[in-house]
């Protein structure tokens, strides 16, 4: 079966860069991945990770391939095609008492994308990356063979694929372990802290008690209030404390076109409002979508960002860098003229088994930055510092990191590249990201 392709403008979630690329979409994943340059799911990586690396390359868009292969209700193990979205998984399994572990901040991601970026979420300190729960994947490698890959079969390729940004092969099916949950609802607490030190400290200490934690920081406040924030912590509610009915599925309205409401000015006001409204201690039962998926409050939230697009600068600093390291990164950003719109902190547990997975023990900083003529300079300066203290950037968010910085941050890179070369010596599978960072030919 041949599938015709279509040409069209494509970008990641940050709407920058935009490229015209040939792409094809079909329920038949085996057909569309044959000869394809790269697979793409829902396109929620921010930068160039889901864009083809070659002018005449073809993307296989996986979203129509969304069948479940089987579900073992005894053990809570499921196998599904790579195009199944997290939203679908939640809709199907929450009512049956199972949740997807290591859920990221949006449910508009595909299983293939979750493996390729080895995603993490508010629970990283308690349950690691998504890859820790993956038992096996079925993939098409560069020589067109289709293989089952796991810790038992081709373990090296398996570990290179978790967090491998889709560059080791096309993911066709993913088998993973679900987690039983006591109820569909979430018991959440939030509390404000007046400066960066106390916010980070509260985030760290919350992690020993709560499976889901996150801190949001108001970067637009100056002086001694710089870095004031709100720590959110939560767990699945026990049946006794939650409503007996299931949380109703939500279908948020979508932003229909680019409407750049978000700017430094409006975000300054929004951040102030957010801090003051959540400063005081609150505790209560909340809808799981509200707690886990703030990015899905409206559909196409990215259309509210500035017209030139945006990026998210997300780095992890090792524990040794301390709060001071975090402050330095934020200082450099502001000094270099980048306008931080939104900043989120998360304390990570240890490094996972993915050879190129982003998280490691320490503090993660994620900041939304509009693309301006100063953003590259700011990212370069921050990367200088981050590489120096042994931190690294998250490729699923990255748009602007230079290859020399990435090499300096990532001692594991050469081992991963060796595995990739073994399976794909000519780099037939490549992305705009791999051209930018790994020296793949255009």
């Amino acid at each position: 079966m041949t599938v015709e392709g279509q040409r069209g403008a494509l970008s990641g979630w940050g709407r920058h860069p935009v490229v015209v690329a040939r792409h094809r979409r079909s329920e038949n994943l085996e057909a569309i991945t044959r000869g394809a340059t790269l697979s793409r799911g829902l396109g929620r990586s921010y930068g160039d990770a889901s864009l083809p690396g070659t002018i005449d390359g073809t993307l296989a868009v996986t979203t129509a391939a969304d069948r479940f292969c089987w579900f073992d209700a005894e053990r809570g193990v499921v196998r599904a095609e790579a195009g199944v979205s997290l939203a679908t998984l939640n809709r199907v399994f929450w009512p049956r008492g199972w949740s997807v572990p290591s859920s990221p901040g949006t449910q508009q991601v595909t299983l293939g994308g979750m493996v390729a970026a080895d995603v993490h979420g508010k629970s990283h300190h308690s349950e690691g990356c998504f890859g820790e729960h993956v038992r096996s994947v079925r993939m098409r490698v560069a020589d067109e063979r289709i293989l089952e890959v796991s810790e038992d079969e081709q373990p090296e390729l398996f570990r290179a694929t978790l967090g491998g940004m889709g560059l080791t092969g096309h993911l066709l099916e993913v088998e993973f372990q679900l987690r039983p949950m006591p109820s569909g609802w979430v018991l959440a607490e939030s509390q404000g802290y007046g400066d960066l030190e106390s916010t980070v400290e509260a985030l760290r200490s919350a992690g020993s008690e709560w499976p889901h934690t996150l801190a949001w920081i108001d970067l637009l406040a100056g002086g001694s209030a710089f870095g004031r924030g709100v720590v959110e912590r939560g767990r699945r509610a026990d049946p006794g404390e939650a409503p007996s009915r299931l949380p109703a599925p939500r279908f948020p309205p979508a932003i229909p076109f680019v409407f750049p409401l978000i700017s430094g000015t409006t975000m300054r006001l929004a951040n102030i409002a957010r801090y003051w409204s959540r400063r005081l201690y609150r505790r209560g039962i909340v809808h799981p979508d509200a707690f886990f998926y703030p990015l899905d409050v409206v559909g196409w939230l990215n259309r509210l960002y500035p017209r030139a697009g945006f990026t998210q600068y997300q780095v992890v600093l090792p524990t040794s860098a301390g709060v001071e390291g975090c402050r330095r990164v934020l200082d450099i950003m502001v000094q270099r003229g980048a306008v931080p719109l939104l900043c989120v902190l998360k304390d990570f547990g240890g490094e996972g088994k993915g050879m190129l997975s982003f998280p490691k023990a320490g503090l993660s900083i994620a900041v939304d930055l509009p693309i301006t003529d100063r953003t590259q300079v700011a990212v370069d300066a921050m990367n200088d510092f981050v590489a120096g203290v042994g931190g690294r950037v998250y490729l699923a968010k990255d748009t602007l990191t230079r290859p020399e910085h990435f090499r300096a941050m990532e001692p594991r890179l050469s081992a991963w590249q060796a595995v990739r070369r073994r399976w794909d010596p000519e780099a037939r599978i490549r992305s705009a990201l791999s051209v930018r960072l790994f020296g793949d030919p255009i």
Partner: protein, 245 residues
């Protein structure tokens, strides 16, 4: 609801089957690709289908198999109250003009054979005292346009047939539901340029299921196409000669 679906391995039929399974309907699937039927049944089972999802081979290109397939479905579900036909063939106007074999297939499958399938279903449902027959036609059957001359003609015939069945048999208890999808993003349309108001198969299926539940005789999905087609139907011929859609 005990529903028989033909064409549920892909596209809108796939989405509709999932919605029905989620709310506890019992399903039986017909299709021409037995391995796809098997995989689809497994998908629906994993999504929480109540009871097992039965399948049988049935190809709209071959009328001789209809009876056995319907027998299997009626036996598998112990009676059927709803039949949904989403199966069909598509070809662009250019490909249909160039290829006589494809042209014959599309015209037979989308009109003559679908009608024959529906006739056999009609007799069975009426013998059981009534039921719902839902058929997916197309907005392309509402008015002839340059881009869909042949496909549109087949769909126009199908729409007209179903409207007639509604007039003749609704009082006897046979409810027909004619679904007219606008542009829906499925593999059938993957190679076409997207017009405004395009929707995904899930959204189209939600609209179709609402129509089935209400027993609406005609439903456009998404509903905005009712207005769009009202305008297109009222355009004078000379305008349609000069436009290219």
């Amino acid at each position: 609801m005990k529903a028989l679906l033909i064409g549920a391995t892909r596209g809108m039929g796939r989405s509709l089957a999932r919605l029905m399974v989620e709310r506890g309907d019992q399903l039986f699937l017909l299709g021409r690709d037995e391995s796809a039927l098997e995989v689809t049944a497994a998908d629906l089972t994993a999504r929480g289908a109540s009871g097992s999802v039965g399948t049988a081979f049935c190809d709209l290109e071959s009328r001789s198999g209809f009876e056995a397939a319907l027998d299997a479905a009626w036996a598998g579900l112990e009676g059927v109250d709803t039949v949904v036909v989403t199966a069909g063939l598509f070809g662009t106007q250019e490909s249909l003009e160039a290829d006589a074999v494809l042209r014959q297939r599309v015209l037979s499958v989308d009109f003559a054979n679908t009608v024959e399938f529906c006739e056999q279903v009609r007799m069975r449902l009426l013998a059981d005292g009534g039921g719902t027959l839902c058929v997916f036609s197309s907005v392309a059957g509402d008015r002839a346009r340059k881009k869909v001359v042949l496909y549109g003609a087949a769909k126009a015939g199908l729409s007209s047939y179903l409207e007639g069945v509604d007039l003749r048999y609704r009082e006897a208890g046979l409810r027909t539901v004619l679904i007219k999808p606008g542009f829906v993003r499925t593999s059938m349309t993957a190679a076409l340029d997207e017009p405004p108001f395009a929707v995904g198969p899930d959204e189209a299926a939600r609209g179709a299921l609402r129509a089935i539940d209400r027993g609406a005789s005609v439903a456009y999905v998404p509903p905005v196409w009712r207005l769009v087609m009202l305008i297109i139907r009222s355009l004078p011929t000379w305008v349609l000669r000069r436009t290219d859609f």
